[in-house]
Amino acid sequence: MARVTVLYFASLRDAAGVAGETVDSAATDLRALYDALRARHGFALPVDRLRVAVDGAFARWDDALADGSEVAFIPPVSGG
């Protein structure tokens, strides 16, 4: 079990209704964490459309959850 802070942006934030939350999760990796939160909040975007960051740096979906870390789910970007 790991306790992580999760950050949501853009359409994910609107769907979740919050900009972030603290989550206790038994997910084995970041992909499983997203899939669980997608089911909870009804996110439209599948994991393969997103990138993920941990503690302010891009990470890999098969990285394990680190207790106390900050996980940011990054939907397709549209700056410029």
Partner: protein, 137 residues
């Protein structure tokens, strides 16, 4: 001094250009991305940009650093807006100083293309007919 920054407010581009003044520079290439009044056939009233600031600043800085490595340029800057923007406002500004124009144009193009593709910033369009939508291309 960062070469990439986010600006929550409208910014003046003259000081950004002056920061790139260099006696060795025979070329300056600039790009301004502006808010247009339509997208995909829909009339647009304005935009809102949101950023994951910590990562956007780090990734934007990497993009400009890559341009400095790949092209024969002297220096470059990029500023991206956040918050609410009206039609015609500058959403993103890129400036590149180089000895010659080819490298200046190429680096300017590289920076805007990579910023659009990689930097965690999101656009929400507000439509004239009502409603708003996040853009997740």
């Amino acid at each position: 001094m960062p070469r990439f920054s986010l600006s929550p407010d409208p910014f003046d581009t003259a000081p950004l250009r002056e920061a790139l003044d260099d006696a060795r520079a025979g070329a300056f290439a600039g790009f301004e991305g502006r808010v247009r009044n339509h997208n995909d056939g829909r009339a647009v009233d304005g935009l809102h940009y949101e950023a994951y600031a910590a990562l956007a600043e780090a990734e934007g800085e990497r993009v400009v650093a890559e341009a400095l490595e790949r092209f024969d340029i002297l220096d470059a800057r990029c500023v991206h807006r956040t918050g609410d923007l009206a039609i015609g406002e500058i959403a993103v500004w890129v400036g590149v100083a180089a000895a010659h124009r080819d490298a200046a144009f190429a680096a300017c193009r590289y920076i805007i293309d990579e910023v659009k593709a990689r930097v965690p910033i999101w656009k929400r369009e507000r439509y004239a007919e009502g409603g708003e939508d996040w853009q997740h291309p």
